[in-house]
């Protein structure tokens, strides 16, 4: 079972990963966007970590709701509302249970990802964060590792795609050949989930 502490660690692990990869994310965003994705998420997850530390919520759902709200309030850009919605809606789906199962999380994440698709109007193959999130939510039914691998593969698979949403879409065919920054950060988020599980001894 996954408790609030697990979800807090997921968020701080993500924050560390974003810190580590910020320059790389900005580099990717520089090729087909506006060179801010790394600093956007860094600002957001720094705020998430600080908020979780200040007043640690006591349920998995509350952790994700707070994290999502922080992202919305501090990131801006496209990724702020999208990631914020992802976490808020996943958290909301988890309800106020003190602990949740991996299957419950997989289900909740599925509804969070659906909310992202609804908010941003993107579909699979549009070269967005959804290309990592959709397969990850699906694979989480199997295992954390499967989700991590699916997200990573999804991110890599954005390279040959032509963007149809977000800033990269302005480039038309020139967006082909570059990895989507949002899909890449989404893979970091899911990898942080698997890492949190691994650190806790695996498949809790």
């Amino acid at each position: 079972m996954l408790d609030a502490d697990f979800f807090r660690r997921w968020m701080t692990t993500t924050a560390a990963a974003v810190d580590r990869e910020a320059e790389h994310l900005t580099e990717l965003d520089s090729a087909i966007g506006d060179a801010d994705h790394g600093s956007n998420l860094q600002r957001g997850f720094t705020a998430v970590s600080a908020a979780l530390e200040e007043e640690p919520p006591q349920t998995p759902g509350a952790v994700l709701m707070l994290a999502g709200r922080q992202l919305i309030s501090t990131v801006g850009g496209a990724s702020g509302p999208l990631y914020g919605t992802l976490l808020r809606r996943t958290g909301k789906a988890l309800g106020d249970a003190a602990t949740v199962t991996v299957a419950e999380l997989a289900q909740a994440l599925g509804s969070g990802v659906a909310a992202v698709a609804q908010l941003g109007g993107a579909q699979a193959g549009d070269k967005t964060m959804l290309d990592a999130l959709l397969p990850a939510a699906e694979a989480l039914g199997t295992s954390f590792e499967a989700a991590r691998d699916a997200a990573r593969e999804g991110a890599l698979a954005t390279v040959p795609l032509q963007a149809r949403k977000g800033r990269a879409s302005y480039l038309g065919e020139r967006s082909i050949g570059h990895q989507d920054p949002g899909a890449t950060s989404a893979a970091l988020l899911i990898a942080a989930l698997a890492e949190t599980d691994g650190a806790a001894g695996g498949a809790v």
């Binding site: 966007g33 060179a35 801010d36 600093s39 990131v75 801006g76 850009g77 977000g166 800033r167 302005y170």
Partner: protein, 328 residues
């Protein structure tokens, strides 16, 4: 770069604005710039905002006759809903608030969330989406046309209508009319360098230019060997006219991207006016300057807005902001 550290660039600029413009209320912590006398009783308020780095847009357009408030995001990053809600609350007199939103995914999503929240707080909100950039072609397979130079037209003209006491639905309708009647095309001669990244966003070899560039360093439609001012004017104006097909007079904004000397920009305006004359387009008013910029990018854009007498009258109406001032 003339900065301290990238992290404080926006806050530093707002402190500097506060010092230079006692006629504005600058909330540095929340990054909201409000005209000092807001809320103005009975008047519809206009709130805009967007990523920083496009100055004087938007905060430089706050004041009587134009915006009631502006929200400054991080460089090239839409502000967050909290800022917009705060701005709306500060300027709403009860007559409602018009959000002027440039069509970028980030701006659209954040303003949308803000509109919901403001609505919950009892503020009547309408929105206008500015999407004038003809460089973004196939809007079905993209995030749609970007909002660029027309933002100035929308903010000025709808701002004048609001100042005259028009109700919210009328102000919003005028804003939409202005946007629908406006098209832009931009060209970059150099890339832009953001403080956070510290190196050029795209690399554009000396001697080449980027046609149809955005104002966030988004690369453009096409790269070409350097063109003359005359050739660029032909290309940009024709790109706009092809889409706008005006059958009446226009207002022209000949805009610098930030690092283009005014000397060159005026020279470019001469070529823009020449093409327009050749194409039989009558120019009612012209504005030349660095208004919708992209940090240190060299380049220019042309925005045309087809106008009727009423829009020209609203354009000519008094405006008192840091960056645009006339009349009275």
């Amino acid at each position: 770069m003339l900065i301290n550290v990238p992290e404080t660039v926006v806050a530093d600029a707002l402190r500097g604005m506060a010092a230079a413009h006692p006629e504005l209320t600058v909330d540095v912590e929340h990054r909201v710039v409000v005209r000092r006398d807001a809320p103005v009783a009975g008047k519809v308020a206009l709130v805009s905002g967007g990523g920083s780095g496009h100055e004087p847009l938007h905060a430089g357009f706050v004041g009587p006759g134009m915006l009631s408030a502006a929200c400054a995001g991080e460089v090239f990053t839409s502000p967050v809903p909290d800022q917009m809600v705060r701005a709306a609350a500060a300027v709403d007199s009860g007559a409602g608030v018009l959000f002027v939103v440039k069509n970028y995914t980030g701006d659209v999503l954040n303003f949308e969330m803000a509109a919901e929240l403001a609505d919950e707080e009892g503020v009547q909100v309408a929105q206008v989406l500015v999407n004038d950039d003809v460089a973004v072609t196939d809007s079905l397979f993209t995030a749609g046309r970007r909002g660029t130079g027309a933002t100035l037209f929308v903010e000025k003209i709808a701002g004048a209508a609001a100042e005259e006491g028009a109700p919210l639905d009328r102000v919003a309708a005028i804003a939409r009319q202005v946007n629908d009647a406006s098209r832009s095309f931009g060209v970059a001669l150099t890339s832009v360098t953001t403080p956070a990244k510290g190196s050029p966003t795209f690399d554009l070899p000396e001697g080449e230019l980027e046609l149809g560039v955005g104002i966030h360093g988004e690369p453009g439609r096409e790269r070409r060997p350097m063109m003359t001012s005359r050739e660029i004017a032909d290309f940009a104006v024709d790109a706009v006219l092809e889409d706008l097909r005006p059958n009446g007079p226009v207002i022209a904004l000949v805009n610098g991207m930030g690092a283009t000397p005014l000397l060159e920009l005026y020279g470019f305006n001469a070529e823009v006016q020449r093409v327009l004359t050749e194409r039989g387009v009558v120019v009612a008013r012209t504005l030349v300057g660095n208004y919708v910029t992209s940090l240190d990018m060299a380049g220019c854009s042309v925005t045309l807005c087809q106008v009727d007498e009423e829009l020209v009258r609203l354009w000519d109406a008094p405006v008192q902001t840091p960056a645009l001032r006339w009349g009275r």
